[in-house]
């Protein structure tokens, strides 16, 4: 059925014209490599976020005044707690702190002051823990990896001096550091007790930055949300399902893919113009002339040209794919990761958990292979139409 000798001849002629074919394979596999790497990184980060959502408090309540977020009264938390389905509510004080004289922005998060006593619960995520005198400390801080490194440059290692918004200096002593495995979540975080945070930001004692609400049964999420909205019309309620939709929006699988696939299409046509536009080299014309003289039909020549295109596009796809996965998940996508990390003093290091998207593989295959085969029809036809007699003269 399939004439394997013709396939052999086609493969051999690819090998013989290695440089011209090699360039096409290189460009195409680079294309597939870029497409798959970008989407594997985006997918991996998105997967990370979606996993985190599972352990987040279900609802964040923020007070909005004049379109801006303002501190929310703490008694709202008690009223929300009274709603059926709410397990616990917790007012929180957190904000951003710009290290004076630098462009370093730190996230200061206030947690309940008894943390040192209950630190055991979060032991997995904290290193360099000096537990023995932890319980006694009141003004403690736990720093994320990036923040700790940076603060070390400014001489803050065991202790940290922050300037509250009235200019008063607050001295905190280190309780521990977040391990590097969680640096994606805590790279710029400084965890302090709620009192230190209140003192730092000058938050009114009866107010908090926002209120988190835990709802064990996900089905009640929407109803509780409406109740809170009804109870406090001037608040903005963000639920984990909104966040999930928002993350999809941000990583925007659709428009990202749209742009990437469009780019692939243009690039593939661009490559083809280079490859096929260059016409058929003289010795290739002579070769086809000889083949026709000794008994090859036009269909035989079309067949080997088709085999050539198929092999080239399959080889490019597979190489690009393999290179992408090794580059992204074995080497952590050294350069392309910069696409996802903005510019900032705290060097963000992302650990990419493996993310395989079969749908993307199928789609990128279908976006590239048919195009190449279609585009190679006309050059293959031109090659098969070479007049044997004139070439051999």
């Amino acid at each position: 059925m399939i004439n394997t000798k013709l396939l052999e001849y086609a493969l051999h002629s690819i090998r013989r014209r290695f440089w011209q074919r090699g360039v096409v394979v290189l460009i195409f596999s680079l294309l597939v490599f870029l497409l798959i790497s970008v989407f594997s990184i985006a997918g991996s980060l998105r997967g990370e976020l979606l996993n985190n959502l599972s352990s987040l408090p279900e609802i964040f309540v923020q007070k909005i005044q004049g379109g801006r977020q303002v501190d929310i009264p703490i008694d709202h938390a008690f009223e929300i707690a009274s709603i059926a389905g709410v397990a616990e509510t917790q007012p929180r004080v957190w904000g951003y702190y710009i290290l004076p004289g630098t462009d370093v922005i730190l996230t200061i998060i206030g947690v309940d002051p008894e943390l040192p006593a209950t630190i055991k619960k979060y032991e997995q995520s904290i290193a360099h823990l000096d537990i023995k005198d932890a319980a006694s400390q009141s003004s403690f801080f736990i720093a994320g990896e990036g923040a700790a490194k940076l603060l070390k440059q400014y001489g803050y290692e065991a202790t940290l001096n922050l300037y509250s918004h009235q200019g008063k200096q607050i001295v905190l002593s280190r309780l521990g550091l977040f391990i590097s495995d969680v640096r994606m979540e805590t790279n710029d975080v400084i965890l302090v007790s709620e009192n230190s945070a209140r003192e730092l930001f000058g938050t009114h004692p009866y107010k908090a930055t926002d209120i988190v609400v835990r709802i064990p049964n996900p089905n009640e999420l929407e109803t509780v949300k409406q109740k809170i909205q009804f109870m406090f019309p001037d608040t903005r309620i963000v639920s984990t399902s909104d966040l999930k939709a928002a993350y999809d929006h941000i990583f925007n699988y659709r428009s990202g893919v749209f742009l990437a696939l469009l780019m692939t299409t243009f690039m593939s046509f661009f490559t083809l113009v280079i490859d096929k536009g260059s016409g058929i080299s003289l010795d290739e014309r002579r070769e086809i002339g000889i083949m026709k003289a000794v008994g090859w039909s036009i269909n035989n020549i079309l067949t080997i040209k088709l085999y050539e295109s198929l092999y080239i596009v399959l080889l490019s796809y597979v190489t690009g794919l393999l290179a992408a996965y090794i580059f992204v998940f074995e080497f952590g996508a050294p350069l392309i990761i910069e696409l996802f990390t903005g510019a900032s003093r705290l060097k963000p290091e992302l650990t990419l958990t493996p993310y395989i998207d079969v749908k993307l593989l199928v789609l990128s295959f279908l976006a590239i292979v048919p195009l190449y085969i279609f585009a190679s029809i006309i050059p293959a036809w031109r090659a098969s139409m070479i007049d044997a007699d004139e070439v051999m003269r």
């Binding site: 749908k359 199928v362 085969i373 279609f374």
Partner: protein, 319 residues
């Protein structure tokens, strides 16, 4: 208008197919009028060389169509998350009035282009270009079909209403509802199943006896009955749920992508079963594709019947 990645790739492939089929149509129309192989003029020689271009294009179009048909269903399935009420591709396809028609047209085009390829192969064996002109006239009809398909895809996509609640396989295919699927399924299984196996046996017999007319009719009937019995009978055994009658959920992960084996087997089997009749009618040429018809059809019937059999063996009772 919903632009999910699957639809983007589908539109890329469809627009390339449209571009190349237009090129082929341009040549085909010239060939159909001016092709006179006996006079040895330079113009005729040029036309002759263009026959190779058009047939290569049409062959590649067939492969592109074979890829874009499952992709269309895959894309529709992907949309089921966005359209309220649609659990799978059925709901999405019914979300706009052009959906089912587009699906049937796509299926029909597969058979049409497939027949052209077979005619082209047969024409290659004639020494006097006997069918060349007729096959290019036939291609012009295919070209019209391709244009229709693109128009319907566009219409389908544009009037896809994302907010309207649609009914999915639950209501679309249950015998009580008045939808097209419903009415077709008014035929109770007690009639549908025996007629399904009967047409299969007639087709088998006709294939062995190499009877084009009987085989052609039997296999076209078998195609319709095959699709119906998959929906109303076999799918319930795949899902092991009497009320769940859906042709597309077979394609999903939890049912081991069984649809991707069943449907191609049915389409290939009936195609090879019908080809002898199609070729007899169009170019009065006998071709023997019966062996392939037998293989694919039996594969389809075996795999499809395996589900109820295993279910009965395991549970000792029919659904």
């Amino acid at each position: 208008m919903m632009l999910t990645p699957e639809f983007i790739v589908l539109l890329i492939i469809e627009s390339v197919v449209l571009l190349f089929s237009t090129i082929a149509a341009f040549f085909a129309s010239r060939l159909a009028i001016q092709f006179a192989p006996q006079e040895p003029s330079a113009h005729q020689y040029k036309l002759l060389s263009q026959t190779y271009l058009t047939s290569s294009i049409i062959q590649v179009i067939l492969f592109a169509k074979l890829a874009s048909f499952p992709l269309f269903i895959f894309a529709a399935d992907g949309l089921s998350g966005f359209i309220p009420g649609a659990m799978c591709a059925v709901g999405v396809i019914n979300a706009s009035s052009h959906g089912p028609l587009l699906l049937l047209l796509k299926l029909f085009m597969l058979y049409f282009i497939g027949s052209w390829i077979v005619i082209n192969k047969v024409d290659g064996t004639t020494i006097d270009y006997r069918y060349t002109i007729r096959k290019y006239k036939l291609y012009l009809i295919i070209y019209v079909g391709l244009i229709l398909e693109v128009i319907f895809t566009g219409l389908y996509l544009f009037d896809l209403d994302l907010d309207a609640i649609v009914s999915c396989c639950g209501t679309v295919f249950n015998p009580l509802s008045s939808t097209l699927g419903g009415r077709l399924l008014h035929i109770p299984n007690t009639i549908l199943l025996p007629s399904f196996y009967l047409t299969f046996l007639i087709g088998l017999y006709a294939a062995f006896r190499k009877e084009p007319i009987v085989s052609g009719i039997a296999h076209s009937l078998f195609l319709v009955l095959g699709l119906l019995t998959i929906i109303s009978f076999f799918s319930t055994y795949v899902y092991q749920l009497p009320s769940h009658q859906c042709p597309f959920c077979l394609l999903q992960k939890e049912y081991l992508y069984m649809g991707y084996l069943l449907y191609p087997a049915l389409i290939a089997g009936t195609f090879f079963g019908m080809i002898p009749l199609i070729l007899k009618l169009l170019i009065n040429h006998t071709v023997d594709s019966y062996r392939l018809a037998i293989i694919f059809n039996s594969l389809f019937v075996l795999v499809a019947s395996a589900y109820p059999l295993f279910y009965f063996l395991r549970n000792g009772v029919w659904l």
